[in-house]
Amino acid sequence: MAFIVRLAQMLIFPGALYLILGSLFIMWLDRLLVARWQARVGPPWYQPLADLIKLLSKEDISPTGTDERIAALLPLLSLAAALTAGLYVPVGNTVVHSFEGDLIVVAFLLSVPTLAYFLAGWVTPSVYGVMGGNRSLLQYFSYEVPLLMGLVVPAVYSRSWSIMGLVDAQHGYRWHLFVFPLGFVIATIGLIGKLKRVPFDIPHAKSEMVAGPLTEYSGRKLALWKLTVAVQTLVGINQLVAVYLGGADRLWGHWGLIIYALKVILFMGGLALIQVLYARMRIDQMARIGWRALVPLGIVQLLVAIWL
């Protein structure tokens, strides 16, 4: 029985099915909010789903010179990594699996798509793919350290390395956000870098890199990549909501879910707002922000956390 429940959790809620549908919803919300803030109407609610199904139905072309097997493997691998990461992050109050140290495991699982993304550009013969891949790797070095610091600060403070443990530590509305507002900002900026969203959409900047590493992808592979990014976004947001915003605040039943969903939606709204308000940065500007501002501030926060 326990096994069946666990399996259902993995496959349906809060596992794969939920993550996929939830991330499609988040994608729609993102596009809708950006459109509304840009004085447009925006897409209907089923848009990301329709995009995904349509891509699945399209012809899958690989230009000559592409390493077929690797090109097909990379999106699968990154989707699997993103979904697996989702299993360790609480949704509402439910988590499929939790152990001391899953905070770091999730951070690394969420990095797998980035590395795969870099390789995806390299295995195609497109110069945009190669350039975009290089940029995504350079970007990885700029945001990953601040993001990890942002995640480690609450862990050091609350003496727990499991995400669920951190949620428990914030019980009674003692959110880590209130203790470490700076840490939250650092982690959020790091997450934007990881998700390659404006102003850090440098690797796939349309006006420079066409579509970056994914320029030559079409059909199924492209669909998987789009889905990976969506799931990565949802899991990344879930993680920060749990670590800094108190997760579901240990409210049980539907209240817990509602509170959690509200936080995720608000967080997504924040990311969409940033997308509306900023121009894209140059890679050197991003590196400067990462290493000159975020890392020193992160160290300060870390020292504060240790001292507290």
Binding site: V34, Q38, V198, S207, E208, A279, R280, R282
Partner: protein, 361 residues
């Protein structure tokens, strides 16, 4: 990873709204050399013009470019009018100025949107193009076309501005003027915009002189050249405006000049609406144009536009030459790009406001 590679941009690329190709020789993230190939939009208009009558050519030259179509016909008409020794009615001269200035506003807003898109600032792209619709609405109401207006005829204009239209138009211009603060605050207060445009793609005075760069590009480098003031045509000598210049020559200065020019153009439009003289719209033009030759220069949104027409006394021009302001900008571009970071290529290309349809003809 830091090896050399060649990045082809175009002829189909999201940065380019028109087909031409820029080939960038890269060393890592830095551009070391750049070369251009144009000609994708060459439609042989100069040769076609020799096979069409003067009236037919009016519609042909309007289609040299879909952005600055009115100034093309204005320049063409002025050249033919000089040859036929026609004096256009004062009211027609004012209406030509009105449409030229509306077109300048629309072209500059379009440019701002394209630049914003190039630096990934889609919101500004959306807002600039939303406000550009005000101008397109006005054009639509006055001439019946959003983009191609067919407003000029040889000897004057075809469209009139009635008092109710003038009042409505003034209201729409107020609406636009009210929106301009948004773009001006972008220019002066937005750090992310400044970070991408300041000190990038500097055109210095030396380049301006050796390549004959004109228009906002020259003015952003401190060169006070504006044919509306230097060689006034239509009704410009009766109107009051300032030549906007900047000194740095970078992409940010280009934005400063263009936004300043939008303000000036709005003021010019208001002056035209207030002082529109009564009278006819056009004088009758002969079908055959007397033999002779004429060179006419006008200030298009992008700078000096030159038409040369030679007539042999028949119904068709013996030679029609169009020189557009984008040509020198294109020649300068391969000298601007080397040394830039890859990410700065987009704002620099967008900043020069190339119009390939104009330059290829």
């Amino acid at each position: 990873m830091m090896g050399r590679m060649t990045i082809p941009i175009g002829p189909q690329h999201p940065l380019l709204k028109e087909p031409y190709s820029v080939s960038l020789e890269m060393s890592g993230e830095q551009v070391v050399a750049a070369s251009l190939r144009v000609g994708y939009v060459h439609r042989g208009i100069e040769q076609l013009a020799q096979r069409r009558s003067y009236v037919q050519n009016l519609y042909l030259v309007e289609r040299v470019c879909g952005i600055c179509s009115h100034v093309h016909t204005t320049t063409y008409c002025q050249a033919v009018e000089r040859l036929a020794d026609l004096q256009i009615p004062e009211r027609a001269a004012y209406i030509r100025v009105l449409l030229c200035e509306l077109e300048r506003i629309h072209s500059h807003l379009l440019w701002l949107g394209v630049l914003a898109e190039a630096i990934g600032f889609t919101t500004i792209f959306m807002y600039a193009w939303r406000d550009r619709e005000i101008i397109l609405d006005i054009m639509d109401a006055l001439t019946g076309g959003r983009v191609s207006h067919a407003a000029n005829v040889i000897g004057g204009v075809r469209v009139d501005v009635t008092p109710p239209q003038a009042e409505w138009l003034g209201g729409r211009l107020d609406e636009l003027a009210g929106q301009m603060y948004l773009f001006e605050s972008l220019l002066h207060d937005d750090r992310s915009f400044q970070g991408r445009t300041q000190g990038v793609g500097v055109i210095d005075a030396e380049m301006v002189h050796s390549f004959g760069v004109v228009g906002p590009l020259a003015r952003a480098s401190g060169c006070r050249m504006d044919l509306r003031r230097d060689a006034p045509y239509a009704a410009y000598s009766r109107l009051d405006f300032q030549v906007v210049t900047a000194s740095a020559g970078d992409v940010w200065s280009l934005a400063e000049v263009r936004l300043g020019e939008i303000r000036q153009s709005i003021s010019l439009c208001r002056q035209v609406l207030d002082g529109l003289p009564e009278g006819d719209l056009a004088v009758k033009a002969p079908r055959r144009i007397p033999a002779g030759e004429a060179v006419v220069r006008c200030e298009a949104p992008r700078g000096e536009l030159l038409y040369y027409i030679r007539s042999d006394g028949s119904e068709r021009p013996a030679r029609l030459k169009i020189r557009t302001p984008t040509l020198p900008a294109l020649m300068v571009l391969p000298r601007l790009l080397p040394g830039l970071e890859a990410a700065d290529v987009a704002p620099v290309i967008a900043g020069t406001d190339l119009c390939i349809a104009c330059s290829d003809r």
